[in-house]
């Protein structure tokens, strides 16, 4: 039992902590994602800045290249106009620095992967070479004006400048792209941060709601189990009270003083149902009547518990009370029946017998009860048939008194259905009872009921209440002087 409770408590604990663990895991996941995204964005931004710087440098290299070309051209123009070798100085500077600058631009473009600018660069370099070989060198070697060469030189130079502008435009647009990428990265890290905050808030919200619901459920379970505990405690208390009252009443009637007539010995036994069943409403009575007669009554109230005991007491009062007026068995049952029908009593089965110790006559009437059994010396036990409906069924039921003549030594046995129905085999139960009664013919006075009971239930469990009442008639007057207690 403790083990089960422990397991249940553990299961409850697991259930209680599950939302917390889930929420924590969720938050950790979100934070990890955020950190990873942060690194990613940082790399993007860093790369953008680096690329932007590289583009700036590449553009100065482009400018350097164009500058070199300008120097070459300026020196050439000066030389052509004045034919002074000193004026060629810028030309030589430019001629040295152009390939260097062009090389740098080339490596810049390749590193930055601005491949679309490579063809203009190659064209610029090729055009520069053409300008050198087809224009500059001939102009230096030529003496006098060379307008066609100059015109050609101007066209080539324009072409180089156009190439330079194209490269610069490509670089500039790449720069714009890089900037936009950096901006996007910055924007997305902002968005990510916002999303993370929302996610964490959401997680916290879900966690809170879950905790709240869990709390509610635990409270509900606690209240419920408390109510169940209270309810079962109440039921136990009610059962205990019912059993106590029933036991007390049963004890009260089973410890009564029986009539003590010299020509009759009475014995009785009562056993309540086994502990797990409830107390029933079996009872018996023996009442001394005028003219040395004795009224025997046995009965059984349908159902168990306090209602059965109340029904039992009502029936006893009715029968005993009216026996003081008229002790005819059928009349007793009929009067009790009318009243029990009127009060809507639980059904009651009963058998009444009036035993006359002077005449040895037995008058009896039965209301839905197992028939009394008569044992006469030297004969087999015999059932005293028959009865009518139980008490409390119908006000129209007619009960009949039958009278049988017996002999000294005869014994009449009244009993309740628990004595014959324990195996749900009435015929078998009746046979066993008759056999037990026959075997009890010679037991000492006052012992017959117990002997019969012991014989029947030596091997059988007592499931229902059982009650047995016996009365034996004697020829010789008995000598005992005081009333005896019957146990």
């Amino acid at each position: 039992m403790d083990g089960i409770l422990d397991t249940e408590a553990r299961a409850r604990n697991v259930r209680r902590h599950a939302p917390l663990a889930l929420t924590l895991a969720f938050i950790v996941l979100v934070v990890a994602l955020l950190v990873a995204a942060g690194f990613y964005v940082r790399d993007i931004v860093r790369a953008s800045f680096r690329d932007a710087e590289d583009i700036r440098v590449a553009r100065t290299h482009v400018a350097d290249m164009l500058n070199a070309q300008l120097n070459e051209e300026t020196g050439m123009r000066g030389y052509v106009s004045a034919r002074e070798p000193i004026l060629l100085a810028p030309y030589y500077v430019g001629r040295r620095s152009f390939p260097v600058a062009a090389q740098r631009v080339g490596s810049d473009l390749r590193r930055l992967k601005v491949n679309e600018a490579l063809p203009p660069l190659r064209d610029a370099m090729a055009t520069n070479l053409r300008w050198l070989h087809e224009v500059a060198v001939p102009l230096i070697l030529t003496h006098g004006p060379a307008p066609r060469l100059e015109l050609r030189g101007k066209k080539l130079v324009d072409r180089i400048r156009a190439d330079g502008v194209a490269i610069d435009v490509d670089l500039a647009s790449r720069g714009a792209l890089v900037d936009a990428g950096a901006q996007r990265a910055v924007f997305s890290i902002g968005a990510l941060a916002l999303a993370s905050i929302l996610a964490v808030v959401l997680a916290a919200l879900i966690f809170t709601v879950q905790q709240y619901r869990l709390g509610e459920r635990l409270e509900r379970e606690r209240t419920q189990s408390e109510a169940e505990r209270r309810h079962s405690a109440e039921a136990r208390a009610a059962y205990a009270a019912e059993k106590r009252i029933a036991d007390t009443l049963q004890q009260a009637f089973s410890e009564r003083v029986f009539p003590n007539l010299p020509a009759m010995s009475l014995s009785a036994t009562y056993l309540p149902a086994t502990e797990e069943s409830k107390v029933g409403g079996d009872w018996y009575d023996a009442l001394e009547l005028p003219a040395e007669r004795v009224l025997l009554v046995i009965g059984d109230v349908t159902g168990h518990g306090i209602d059965a005991v109340i029904g039992m007491n009502r029936a006893r009062q009715l029968i005993i009370g009216s026996a003081l007026i008229d002790a005819d068995p059928a009349a007793l049952l009929a009067r009790a029946n009318l009243e029990l029908v009127r009060v809507k009593s639980p059904l009651i089965t009963a058998a009444c017998a009036v035993v006359d110790t002077r005449t040895f006559a037995i008058s009896y009437a039965v209301a839905g009860h197992p028939p009394p059994i008569l044992l006469e010396p030297g004969r087999h036990a015999a059932l005293l048939e028959f009865g009518a409906l139980p008490l409390g069924v119908s006000a129209k039921t007619t009960y009949v008194t039958r009278t049988t003549a017996t002999v000294p030594g005869a014994m009449i046995v009244l009993y309740t259905d628990g004595v014959i129905e324990y195996a749900r085999d009435l015929e078998g139960g009746e046979a066993a009872l008759m056999e037990a009664i026959e075997s009890a013919a010679d037991v000492p006075r006052g012992q017959a009921a117990k002997a019969i009971r012991d014989r029947i239930f030596s091997n059988s469990r007592i499931a229902d209440d059982i009650a047995i009442l016996t009365a034996r008639l004697w020829e010789a007057p008995a000598t005992s002087a005081s009333p005896r207690r019957i146990a």
Binding site: P346, G368, F386, V393, R424
Partner: protein, 110 residues
């Protein structure tokens, strides 16, 4: 009047307190006909609670002028019914067809 107006209630096995609800429901369903055939041919035992239900039902039907016929076959249950006094109060048959015949005659005669 005809046989169609006879309510037939069929119970079997051991009738005991655990089946009280089932018995009540079966009996409660038999409330429309002008007569009742209580077929207990397969019943082998009835405890006092079950017997009370049957008795109250039969008494109520009789009070309402609805003839009741019982079919009882197993000797154990027949014995129980005998000492419970049913034999004197209600018509008991060992055959369902005979019981139905009786009820039809009753219905036709009334």
């Amino acid at each position: 009047m005809s046989g169609e107006m006879v309510d037939v209630v069929r119970l079997s096995g051991e009738l005991e307190i655990a089946r009280k609800g089932e018995i009540r429901d079966a009996l409660a369903a038999a409330s429309t006909g002008t007569a009742v055939l209580l077929d207990l041919g397969e019943v082998t035992y009835a405890d006092s609670i079950a017997l009370t239900e049957l008795l109250r039902f039969c008494a109520e039907a009789t009070r309402n002028d609805r003839p009741v016929a019982l079919v009882i076959r197993t000797p154990q249950f027949a014995r129980l019914v005998q000492y419970a006094g049913l034999a004197g109060a209600f018509k008991i048959f060992s055959d369902a067809a005979e019981a139905m015949e009786y009820l039809r005659e009753r219905a036709g005669g009334s």
